[in-house]
């Protein structure tokens, strides 16, 4: 009986190792559709002003240079994937009082580390379909030059000058966010040769707020729908056989 189990185990391992294949590639998320909701109707700021909290609608954004690397480990039809992304979180239009396009600036970058488990429906085909799900670990809230609240204007004397777009309120909103949050995600993708296009949906499963305030609006639900383009880099796979 023990010998049978040992042979079975070795067969499984052999199958596992023979079919092992790892991939490394770059991933780019150019378009984001997001919705951010609040638990109260108004956000109160330290400058004693307030803004209407959220419009409960999805809005689309270009995310600029939201990009990263992925590492994929394939086991037959299944695969495990880990990523490290520098991702632009855009929510500017969620604040309806920020009517001017210049003010739509509630935007920050984070380091996203999604861990995904997926299934390739037709792995041997030229055009392959995938479905997957997992968890996205979001770290940090960085304001980068791409999402700066500083806008250059030309004044009456034709000189260039700065215009700050509700900088303090934007910073206050970002500071309300927790440094780390965990999202659940799911998606579908189509691959052809080394290139893939994915649609990915995320929703938070942890509290987004650093502190929950009783008399101020707190972040409630976050929804992100991302378009992801990925390309697998040429990589020499190493296989070995257990004899």
């Amino acid at each position: 009986m023990n010998r049978f189990l040992l042979i079975l185990f070795l067969l499984v391992i052999q199958e596992y190792v023979y079919s092992q294949k790892t991939e490394i590639g770059i991933i780019y998320s150019p378009i984001l559709v997001s919705k951010l909701t609040f638990d109260k109707d108004y956000i109160i700021f330290k400058d004693y002003g307030s803004l209407t909290a959220g419009d409960n609608k999805f809005h689309a954004y270009f995310t600029g240079i939201s990009t990263g690397l992925f590492f994929r480990y394939k086991i037959r039809n299944f695969y495990l994937q880990a990523e490290t992304n520098f991702f632009g979180n855009n929510f500017g239009q969620q604040i309806p009082d920020w009517a001017s396009s210049r003010k739509k600036n509630f935007t920050y970058s984070s380091i996203d580390v999604p861990v995904i488990c997926g299934y390739t429906i037709n792995p041997s085909s030229m055009i392959r379909f995938r479905i997957y799900g997992g968890l996205n670990n979001k770290f940090g809230k960085f304001i980068t030059a791409f999402y700066s609240s500083m806008v250059y204007l030309i004044n009456d004397n034709m000189n260039q000058e700065y215009y700050f777009v509700d900088k303090t309120r934007k910073k206050e909103l970002i500071n309300k966010l927790h440094f780390y949050s965990l999202n659940v995600l799911g998606g579908i993708g189509i691959s052809r040769y080394s290139t893939s296009i994915d649609i990915r949906i995320e929703r938070n499963i942890t509290n987004l707020n650093k502190i929950n305030y009783e008399n101020n609006a707190n972040f409630k639900d976050l929804f992100l729908i991302r378009l992801c383009l990925s390309h697998t880099l040429p990589y020499k796979t190493k296989t070995f056989i257990i004899k």
Binding site: I26, I44, D47, Y48, I65, F142, S148, Y163, K167, N216
Partner: protein, 351 residues
């Protein structure tokens, strides 16, 4: 080639992570009147003592450090003023207080009034937050003819946070064109009654913000409200968020001025050109500067200027029981266009 493109992308990410520059906020001032008192009068001359402030941003919103003796310009329009004296004083200590803010919403005309609630909201909130805890504050709204006064939450509180969301709601929803008749006199009357019953302190203050409604229900005698406020030891303060318009109801306006002057309240008129150049020009900085100091002015022990003017009239004679208005100016070196700031004041000749 592909690896080079990856390196370029990460290089771009790296250089984008730079700190934002801080904007230098320009200096600004606010000038207003703490109280006025008529020292003596004849039919052609009135000697009026005016306690006023010139707050300076660069001096932590305290009274301006420099001497204004050579930069004060006497009244010259309706009355010719002569400077009798000018000195720095510290007001008497009044102690802790109960303060109520009464707001009316709805606008008879929306033209040029879009900013009314945007400016009023932070002004009220700053006062509530700076005054609460040591003192008690409350918020109320002028209602309708059936219920003229709406008390927000549970009336007086020492936790101003409780009033944040209700205040935001009033101001965000208040900017609507109104056609009904505002029962503001009834609301003030009820407010005085409420404060007389519910105030913890004998030192009571009322600040009224009315949204320039033309139609108001004139079912109570104006002088009886003023007398009631004086008898109740309630000081009524006036912060003019926006200037008067041609369609302003001047009968109501004059009533507020009289109520303010007769109860020796703080009077501040916002100079319109002063709230610019801050983070996109949204906040009324001079108004906020005053509202942040209101609690200190109410409590007392506040450093201010005291000027005594001898005002001579050539047109109409001074008579008792009437309100008179004038203004003087202070010349300041601001970063703004307006360098000569007008300080309007009103005085009441007590019968």
């Amino acid at each position: 080639m592909k690896y080079i493109s990856v390196i370029i992308i990460f290089f771009l990410i790296f250089i984008s992570c730079k700190k934002e520059e801080d904007k230098l906020i320009k200096n600004y001032y606010s000038c207003g009147v703490i109280s006025t008192e008529v020292l003596s009068y004849t039919s052609t001359k009135a000697v009026v003592k005016v306690k006023f402030f010139v707050l300076d941003k660069s001096n932590h919103d305290e009274l301006i450090k420099q001497s204004i003796l050579n930069n004060i310009i006497p009244p010259s329009s309706d009355y010719v003023g002569l400077l009798d004296s000018l000195k720095r004083i510290t007001t008497n200590i009044n102690g802790n207080f109960s303060a109520a803010v009464l707001i009316s919403d709805g606008l008879d005309k929306t033209i040029n009034m879009d900013d009314y609630f945007i400016e009023m909201e932070p002004t009220v909130r700053k006062f509530l937050h700076t005054a609460a805890s040591s003192n008690e504050v409350m918020l109320a709204k002028v209602g309708n003819n059936i219920k003229p006064l709406e008390i927000i939450n549970n009336g007086f509180t020492r936790n101003a946070d409780e009033l944040d969301i209700p205040l935001a709601e009033i101001c965000k929803k208040g900017n609507y064109p109104a056609n009904d008749t505002l029962p503001i006199l009834q609301a003030i009357d009820s407010m005085i009654n409420y404060m007389n019953v519910k105030s913890t302190y004998t030192h009571k203050n009322l600040i009224i913000f009315y949204s320039r409604r033309k139609l108001f229900l004139q079912n109570i005698n104006l002088d009886s409200i003023i007398n009631k406020a004086r008898q109740s030891n309630i000081t009524c303060h006036m912060l003019e968020v926006t200037p008067n318009y041609t369609w302003t109801n001047f009968s109501l306006e004059n009533f507020f001025v009289k109520l303010n002057t007769c109860t020796h309240g703080i009077y501040y008129e916002s100079p319109y050109s002063f709230y610019n150049n801050y983070e996109g020009g949204e906040l009324p900085m001079a108004l906020l500067q005053v509202s942040g100091k209101l609690n200190e002015m109410m409590y007392g022990g506040f450093e201010c200027f005291e000027v005594v003017w001898s005002l001579n009239t050539t047109s109409s004679n001074f008579t008792s029981g009437k309100i008179y208005s004038s203004d003087f100016s202070v010349r300041l070196s601001t970063n703004y266009e307006q360098e000569e700031i007008s300080i309007p004041f009103h005085f009441y000749i007590n019968p």
